[in-house]
């Protein structure tokens, strides 16, 4: 059933309204203007008025342009032919390869029945002590990197992707800088991972509304692979751009904003994407790593704030390091009890001491005399930052734990560490 209309009644921002009948909520249409064709999606029905968001934007659309309804919601082709391919936000080839039309699947499907999930149990090793030791990443986790723009969040994502043992990588670029897109491609290529990677890349110069499709397309494809038993890693960068695109549409639709212009359903919208992360009972898994840039380095900004409430922790990237405060992996306790006996104690103990170091540092900066204890903490903090926090450190978890004990014994007496006696007996390095 294809219906064609030639009279657009209203054009406001990226939303157009036509009078039409027999149209269903969520259906797609093709809008043809003198600048070419664009997909559009039905976002409101009111009597015979149908409002659509136009993916390539409302600019240049004229009231006489043609709107052709396709009679189905947004779909994407799914098969192994996707592997190694690069598409734009709307699913069109970006790599000069053929367009794919076979085996179409709907995007933005229903959520997983919670009783079909299993408790995540596999650690994803990254070689980064701030992750492996202090905030362990777990298969099927959803976790963003919080950072201000300018921080190396994309290189960090690429590094984790290369190190993680997964079957398939889906990269969803949302307002991605072209250079960053090239960086991802080159890194994955030189690491030999390109053939198991699929790109859906919306770049900064592409129409904004199109970015809204990227998470859903990426996750729909990931979900199908996961159902085939694959372990899939989805990278979404940058989700703040996604939220901003939603904000734009909401304002056009005259929705009452809840907080700094963002729509009241921002939380639900973000959640319906992030919650696609899953470890299926009897099939594969989806792990989601995102980038969430924080305008003004403000975690209370609605986008990082709502994200933090949804995701299973976050890595807080600042000054090129993963900050121990603010960073969190909520799933770490599911795996760090079976790594090594001392893992949890070292994890908590070293962070508590680092927090104390920060206090001493503050006292020092205010010109107070440093007690013996302060001096110990200052020495500790410096070593901790250099040997644990620096992103250039690349060592396995076990080595990082050993190094942790060494650092503690270099800086403190056992009783000062706050660690329990039994652990100290077993792990405290004996001085030769």
């Amino acid at each position: 059933m294809r219906k064609v209309y030639n009279k657009i009644e209203e054009i406001s921002g990226n939303v157009i309204t036509v009078a039409a009948d027999g149209i269903r909520y969520g259906d797609l249409a093709v809008v043809t203007s003198r600048y070419g064709e664009s997909l559009a999606e039905v976002i409101r029905l009111s009597g015979e008025k149908v409002s659509l968001q136009v993916f390539s934007g409302g600019r240049g659309v004229s009231t006489g342009d043609e709107v052709r309804f396709l009679g189905h919601p947004m779909q994407v082709s799914f098969s192994d032919n996707l592997l190694g391919r690069i598409f734009d936000g709307g699913g069109r080839p970006r790599d000069g390869g053929p367009a794919l039309h076979e085996d179409l699947i709907e995007i933005g499907g229903p959520s997983v029945n919670p009783s079909k999930r299993i408790i995540p149990r596999n650690m994803i090793r990254t070689g980064i002590p701030m992750i492996d030791l202090f905030n362990t990443l777990v298969e099927s986790q959803k976790l963003p990197i919080f950072s201000v723009s300018g921080e190396p969040y994309n290189p960090l994502l690429a590094r984790i992707a290369m190190q993680a043992e997964v079957d398939i990588i889906v990269l969803g670029g949302i307002g991605l800088k072209y250079d960053d897109y090239l960086y991802f491609r080159e890194t994955l290529e030189s690491g030999g991972a390109l053939s198991r990677t699929i790109f859906f890349v919306h770049t900064a110069s592409d129409p904004i509304v199109e970015s809204l499709l990227v998470p859903d397309i990426s996750l729909a494809v990931a979900e199908k692979f996961a159902l085939q038993g694959k372990r899939v890693l989805v990278l979404l960068t940058d989700m703040t751009n996604f939220a901003d695109a939603m904000k734009e549409i909401a304002i056009t639709m005259e929705q009452v904003p809840s907080n700094r212009g963002y729509p009241g359903d921002l939380y639900s919208q973000l959640a319906s994407r992030y919650e696609k992360a899953v470890d299926f009972n009897g099939a594969g898994s989806i792990t989601i790593l995102g980038a969430t840039t924080m305008p003004g380095d403000d975690v209370t900004h609605p986008v990082p704030d709502n994200t933090g409430y949804i995701t299973e922790g976050q890595y807080y990237l600042r000054n090129g390091r993963i900050e121990p405060f603010g960073s969190l992996s909520r799933l770490k306790q599911l795996v760090n009890d079976s790594t090594r006996l001392d893992h949890r104690a070292i994890m908590d103990g070293m962070i508590k001491l680092y927090a104390a170091y920060k206090e001493s540092l503050e006292k020092k900066s205010m010109g107070f005399r440093m007690s013996e204890w302060d001096s110990k903490l200052l020495a500790y903090g410096e070593i901790f930052e250099r040997e644990m926090m620096d992103l250039s450190v690349n060592i396995p978890l076990e080595r990082a734990l050993d190094r942790g004990w060494e650092i503690l014994s270099e800086c403190f007496e056992p009783a000062e560490t706050g660690l329990r006696t039994e652990l100290i007996k077993e792990f405290w390095p004996t001085k030769e």
Binding site: D21, R24, Y25, G26, R44, L45, S46, G47, E48, P73, P110, S111, V112, N113, P114, S115, K116, R117, I118, I119, S140, Q255, V256, S258, N259, P263, G264, D265, Y267, S268, A271, S272, K276, F280, A283, V299, T300, H301, D305, G308, Y309, F325, L328, L331, L334, R344, K352, A355, E362, K363, M366, F368, R369, S371, W373, D374, A415, E416, G418, T421
Partner: protein
């Protein structure tokens, strides 16, 4: 009443507008026909012949002109034996059964029986023929796990009835008629073991409400000792993300000394529910020796599930809680997070284009929150037994700032406030309940004089800490510094509690009282100390000993050995008693 029908005239997100022919009620359930399936919806506004409905499913594919049927029933849950151990979505759809039918995903428009129809229950009649009964009276019982599940006169029956007949002891399914009641005007009403109750109306088939005074033991020291919750009381846990709201509720759901726990996972992560779902059947309840799942009902409407059903889910949960209260049981309802429920209301209010209040929440937010917490309480039933519903809700304030509508509206109505702090969780001080900002109006498990004294120690330590930031350690007197160390000590070994340690995770009240006495010894003591470094070393050692003590099994050899060791260390270092503690010390001595 005539059959009401309607046609869709608008779709906006999960709200549809419908032109209606016939009479409909607010909160009535309607179904949108979509191909072969019917999507459940609830009437949320009526204006003339136009009604707005919130659809409990994804609305994709709905079109103008689609048919809507109305049910004449308000949104309701089924009450009867078999609720315990179940995992439902916000509309009481059983999720494991749904998975069996539909597989991995939550398909739209599939609604299954919440309670197993075929299962037989061993019914024992309790009401004799010709006795007079009214709503909530017990007519028989069936064993449900460890409980005697009361089969009651349905709560919606007004006035008095006479038992005309009642079946013999035996096995029946929930839809079998077990008794017949006759009303004064002679109508006969068959009673089965199951009936429906509209979720948005409180169940009030009791004689009396009592003031909540008896503590509800959570086995979290900071709560039981300092910010206690009462059976039948209400409390809230606001906190920024990652501060530990969910973990705190999870451990409470395991260790709380109540009969039944209803977990309402409202608009948050599915993964967190899965942990409960998978682990509870394996965990034994130390009070009963049975699996924890047998005392638990899970209502799970997580963040990616339909928003309208999220709004309904807290009502579904509290209705089930009230139902078991009618059996004289103590029920705890844990809702995580009430903010998501409030946001669901906000989304709908926005679509209805109501005049928004602060942060776009609807103007009626406060009264709705108050109405929800009012459903908690201790009640006296008609047979003299007493039951309670305790409600604990987490709040997820935007930006972690408590000055926002949901936190503020909640604080007005609850009896205890466990405010989680970002500073404490960043420093891994769990549970991150702020010891100075939080409060409780309920009596606790440890002698109030002692906790009062401990509060002073904390307060004083905090003052000294603030002062030290200005004048430095060198500008602080040794006495003040020791006061500071005492408060740090209390924080480190009593307020903080390791939820992932098998022993420390749950501390019975007896142990709390016992340990607190020894802590009081530390507080009240004047120590022989010459320098601050000496003081720090001493308190580090004390901390280590107490931490080891916390890890030792209650009443084990290790426990007594460490206790003796601590006492010896205190004997050696204490030279007198702090002035402000003298009378208290004398008092506690006398008590012993």
């Amino acid at each position: 009443m005539t059959e009401a029908t309607g046609k869709v005239v608008g779709v906006n997100g999960n709200m549809i507008s419908v032109d209606v022919a016939g009479n409909i009620a607010l909160n009535e359930v309607g179904y949108v026909r979509l191909g072969d399936s019917r999507l459940k919806a609830e009437v949320i506004r009526i204006r003339g012949s136009r009604a707005e409905l919130q659809v409990f499913e994804m609305t994709r594919g709905i079109g103008i002109g689609d048919e809507v049927e109305f049910s004449h029933e308000l949104l309701a849950v089924q009450l009867g034996p078999g609720l315990l151990g179940k995992v439902y979505d916000g509309l009481q759809n059983p999720l494991p059964e749904l998975a069996e039918k539909c597989g991995f995903f939550l398909d739209r428009g599939v609604y299954l029986d919440p309670l197993p129809r075929a299962q037989k229950w061993e019914f024992t009649p309790k009401a004799a023929k010709n006795t007079r009964v009214s709503a909530g009276d017990t007519i028989g019982t069936v064993p449900e796990g460890i409980f005697e599940h009361r089969i009651m006169v349905p709560f919606f029956l007004p006035g008095e009835y006479t038992v005309a007949s009642i079946v013999e002891k035996g096995a029946y399914s929930i839809t079998d008629t077990v008794a017949e009641l006759v009303s004064p005007d002679g109508t006969t009403i068959p009673v089965t073991m199951v009936f429906e109750w509209p979720v948005k109306r409180p169940i009030t088939a009791y004689t009396n409400r009592r003031r909540p005074t008896e503590p509800m033991i959570t086995k979290v020291r900071l709560i039981d000792t300092f910010f206690p919750v009462a059976l039948g009381g209400t409390y809230c846990i606001p906190g920024p993300f990652g501060a530990g709201k969910t973990v705190l509720q999870q451990i409470t759901s395991r260790h709380a000394e109540v009969d039944i726990v209803i977990v309402a996972a409202c608009g948050e992560r599915a993964g967190e529910v899965v942990e409960t779902l998978v682990e509870f059947p394996e965990l034994t309840d130390p009070r009963t020796g049975r699996s924890l799942m047998e005392r638990t009902v899970i209502i799970c409407n997580t963040s990616s599930m339909p928003v309208a059903a999220r709004e309904a889910s807290v009502y579904t949960a509290v209705t089930i809680a009230e139902y078991y209260r009618q059996m004289g049981l103590n029920v705890l309802l844990l809702a995580d997070s009430t903010s998501r429920w409030a946001q669901a209301m906000r989304e709908m209010s926005g679509r209805l284009e109501e005049i928004p209040g602060e942060e776009a929440f609807p103007a009626y937010l406060e009264s709705v929150i108050a109405g929800f917490y009012e459903r908690a309480g201790v009640v006296e039933l008609r047979d003299g037994s007493v039951g309670s519903v305790t409600i604990g809700g987490t709040v997820s304030p935007a930006g972690g700032n408590f000055e926002e509508p949901v936190t503020q509206a909640t604080l007005k109505v609850v009896g205890a406030f466990h405010g989680l702090s970002r500073e404490r969780s960043d420093a891994r001080k769990y549970p991150a309940i702020h010891p100075l900002d939080s409060w409780s109006k309920y009596p606790g498990a440890v002698e109030p004089e002692l906790t009062e004294y401990a509060r002073k120690v904390l307060f004083n330590g905090n003052e000294v800490g603030q002062m030290m930031k200005v004048v430095g350690e060198e500008g602080t007197s040794l006495d003040d510094f020791v006061g500071y160390l005492k408060s740090e000590f209390l924080d480190a070994i009593y307020l903080q509690q390791n939820s992932f340690d098998p022993v420390d995770a749950a501390v019975p009240t007896e142990r709390q009282r016992h340990v607190f006495k020894l802590i009081f010894r530390v507080f009240s003591g004047r120590f022989k100390l010459a320098t601050k470094d000496e003081a720090r070393t001493l308190f580090n050692e004390l901390q280590l000993k107490f931490r080891d003590w916390n890890g030792a099994e209650w009443n084990s050899d290790d426990f007594s050995r460490i206790e003796t060791d601590i006492n010896a260390a205190l004997d050696a270092s204490i030279e007198g008693i702090e002035h402000d503690a003298e009378s208290l010390v004398a008092q506690t001595r006398k008590a012993e």
